[in-house]
């Protein structure tokens, strides 16, 4: 770190490098958002799925669960729960609706959210839509 390598060389690498790679990142983002519809199947984003995402958010499901591997690590992955539950939205709804309000003794417990039929339906559709996304074969197996 001496001789020809001066402070202003270092500064120029910093400026030039960060601007260049930021622009490259923007270009890649542009390409990504252009090709994503083939993978996320946004044509299936019905009003129900959209409502389901807000039910998901307004009950902070991500505070216990991961979805596509992101979130909390306390409870099962839900990105593929639709497949794990035998491709059944009814099974998902039944599971959520049947949580005991006082929890299960000694076991990690999921709250009883008292969701309306509409909200239950929506969140299950949202999980179904998520499971149909092309995620490069992740998770490795059905257990998530």
């Amino acid at each position: 770190m001496s001789g020809a390598f001066t402070k202003s060389t270092a500064r120029n690498i910093y400026f030039g490098g960060s601007v260049f790679f930021f622009l490259l990142f923007v270009a890649l983002t542009f390409d990504t958002t252009r090709t994503m519809p083939e993978r996320d199947h946004r044509e299936n984003l019905s009003d129900k799925v959209v409502l389901g995402k807000s039910v998901w958010e307004e009950n902070n499901c991500v505070g216990c669960h991961t979805i596509l591997g992101e979130g909390a690590y306390f409870a099962p992955e839900l990105g593929n729960v639709y497949s794990r539950f035998g491709n059944s939205t009814e099974a998902i709804k039944a599971f959520i609706a049947s949580r005991p309000a006082e929890g299960i003794r000694g076991r990690r417990s999921m709250p009883q959210f008292n969701l309306s039929e509409e909200a239950l339906d929506a969140v299950a559709e949202f999980l179904k839509w998520t499971s149909e996304m092309d995620t490069a074969n992740w998770p490795p197996n059905i257990q998530g």
Partner: protein
């Protein structure tokens, strides 16, 4: 203290430490819920404790960064702060807004909080780390703007150093990328894509500028090494950070419905992300070896060295461990991630805030360094916290390896079954967490025990 207005930093530092204690208490609650599933259920469900834990972390680090700026910028700029009053007002605004948000999390169900705060008008809630009600997010932006204005005006009217300019660039970047938290598309894949523009571009982007600037400042002060040398290092470090870290965002774009070329871009660039952290370690030790003076604040030097080492271990080594796409395929979203998240946040950002507090607090109280006794107590805090964080990381890593093995690689056992089988490691993590808390208590005590001086020369030259 060279400039009266540096005193604005003081309440920020106290708030940071106070919220840190609360953060760790909620961590311990969650640690117990991991093994005694219904602990405090349904009063404090796990997700609520988690929001409190992670949001308190972010908020106390922000208090720390702001306090650091109020302390460091006047000194670098060789002028009083533009408006101390604004600094104090924003302190109270931020503290009250933060406290109300936490009370909201704890007092009512999250869905009620969302409804009360009109989340449907501009839905931004319910995403990891960004759980705050939209109105709180707007408050954060306002505080950030006022803060940047205050600091920016101070730099403009005074001397412009590399350290203050890099610090401000990092802080502006922090504010700018936070704006992506207001973008919440109903397409989950896109939502995730831009969510990382807040989370990744913070911790592996602009925050590294803040980290580098604070570390450089403290090293100049405690070693007396020539500013030119330190500034050159700082440029090298932040150049490496941004060159690798921006495209390195791709390590989060492997499995979320994004094109598979990200497996290449993400793996290659993020594999180089440890470089700036390694450079920081070399830098810190180099400067301390070349020191021109022995600063009486030994514990601040210890914190600076600790930050350099632990950020390299937590971010560099534990980050590299799971960053290559073929590895991440198995480790994604497991306890390995939690292990890395803990050591990286502690080693880089918690420790840099404790470094500047350790350096600045005695000066803010009119001494160059704390008395020997208090420094020793603080060193106990340093070692207890740092060593127990190493153990927390090791236990979580062991849990994570077993989890991957049983659930995804060797076998395919259900999540809940595997969690029970690895409960022993969660117990050990909790135990290490309790020792961490004891370390934190030592750390706090070091600032509140009366100073007991044996040697007089420490008091002589105050700030």
């Amino acid at each position: 203290m060279k400039y009266q207005s540096q005193a604005v930093a003081k309440p920020y530092f106290y708030a940071a430490i106070g919220l840190f204690v609360a953060q760790v208490l909620f961590g311990l609650i969650m640690g117990l819920q991991y093994v005694i599933g219904d602990f405090l259920f349904p009063e404090i469900p796990f997700n609520v404790a988690r929001m409190v834990h992670t949001n308190l972390l972010i908020v106390w680090l922000l208090f720390g960064f702001m306090g650091a700026s109020y302390f460091l910028v006047p000194e670098e700029s060789e002028t009083e702060l533009f408006s101390p009053l604004l600094g104090y007002v924003l302190f109270w605004v931020f503290l009250v807004a933060g406290a109300l948000t936490i009370v909201g999390y704890l007092a009512v169900p999250y869905a009620t909080l969302a409804e009360l705060t009109g989340n449907d008008l501009l839905p931004t809630m319910g995403r990891e780390f960004l759980e705050q009600p939209t109105i709180t997010k707007i408050g954060i932006v306002i505080v950030a703007l006022g803060f940047l204005f205050n600091i920016g005006m101070t730099v403009l009217k005074g001397r412009k150093t590399v350290i203050s300019v890099v610090l401000i660039t990092g802080l502006v970047g922090l504010a700018v990328f936070f704006l992506f938290s207001f973008y919440n598309p109903s397409n989950l894949a896109l939502d995730k894509y831009y969510w990382w523009w807040v989370v990744h571009l913070w911790v592996e982007g602009v925050w590294e500028l803040i980290l580098g600037a604070i570390l450089a400042f403290v090293l100049i002060k405690v070693t007396g090494v020539d500013r030119e040398v330190i500034e050159k290092w700082l440029y090298v470090i932040i150049a490496m950070a941004l060159i690798t870290g921006i495209i390195g965002t791709g390590h989060h774009y492997y499995w979320i419905g994004t094109p598979t070329y990200w497996q290449w871009w993400g793996s290659i660039f993020s594999a180089m992300e440890p470089l700036p952290f390694f450079a920081m370690t070399v830098f810190a030790f180099n400067m301390i070896n070349r020191r021109r003076r022995d600063h009486p604040n030994k514990v601040a030097v210890l914190w600076a060295q600790g930050t350099a080492v632990m950020s390299f271990l937590g971010a560099g080594v534990w980050g590299f461990l799971h960053t290559l796409a073929p590895v991440n395929y198995y480790t994604h979203g497991t306890q390995i991630t939690a292990a890395h998240g803990h050591m990286a946040f502690y080693g880089a950002y918690a420790m840099i805030v404790m470094t500047i507090i350790s350096y600045a607090m005695p000066i803010l109280r009119g001494r160059e360094a704390a008395s020997n006794r208090n420094q020793v107590v603080e060193m106990w805090g340093f070692w207890l916290m740092t060593v127990s964080m190493v153990f927390i990381t090791l236990f979580l890593t062991a849990a994570g390896v077993l989890q991957v093995w049983m659930q995804r690689y060797g076998g395919s056992e259900p999540f809940m079954v595997v969690q029970e089988k690895i409960a022993l490691f969660y117990w050990m993590r909790e135990l290490a967490g309790v020792i961490f808390l004891i370390g934190l208590i030592c750390y706090v005590a070091a600032y509140f025990l009366p100073e007991r001086d044996l040697d007089v020369d420490v008091v002589a030259e105050a700030g």
